[in-house]
Subunit: 99 residues, 2 copies
């Protein structure tokens, strides 16, 4: 499976990585993509308002508008996220590591 | 032990709370305190620059300056945090729940 910190390159900054959790700060410019990647259980906290579309592993897509402060839980998932807005997308991704 | 979401009252907003994680957005005005509270394993992500002093359960204190984006890991701890700065302290607290 693809690691976001690799696929997103310089757009992803690993802030903390230990045996229990990894925290990534993601900054995607308008029109930018993360690249297809997988997560285990994770929380996304949006640092700025934005619009994005996500292509799932099965090819389906969904679009969403998010506000700074929105906090989303997700179980294991594989997707590619595109910033469809006009401003940089900024989010904190907290990945929980299986015990 | 004391729950931050109780001791900090309206200064703490619970954004997400499930069986694996709780996410709290904390906003402490200048001079404000969280009240003595306990955490299990947790990550703190600072949303704004700030100065704070923490009184630990054993009465010892430590002061620190933090910058927006600073990310700190902590194992279980009991402390009271005071905003010693002139601007509101803003932080995201991600508490990991024991499996």
């Amino acid at each position: 499976s693809q690691d976001l910190a690799m696929t997103a390159g310089k757009n992803a900054r690993v802030l903390l990585d230990n045996d229990k959790v990894r925290v990534i700060e993601l900054m995607i410019p308008p029109g930018g993509k993360t690249g297809m990647h997988s997560h285990g259980d994770n929380v996304v906290y949006f640092l700025a308002d934005g619009d994005s579309s996500q292509t799932m592993a099965d090819g389906t897509t969904k679009t969403r508008h998010t506000k700074a402060g929105d906090t989303l839980w997700s179980g294991p998932v594989t997707h590619d996220t595109t910033n469809t807005g006009k401003t940089p997308a900024k989010a904190l991704i907290i990945e929980l590591k299986a015990k």
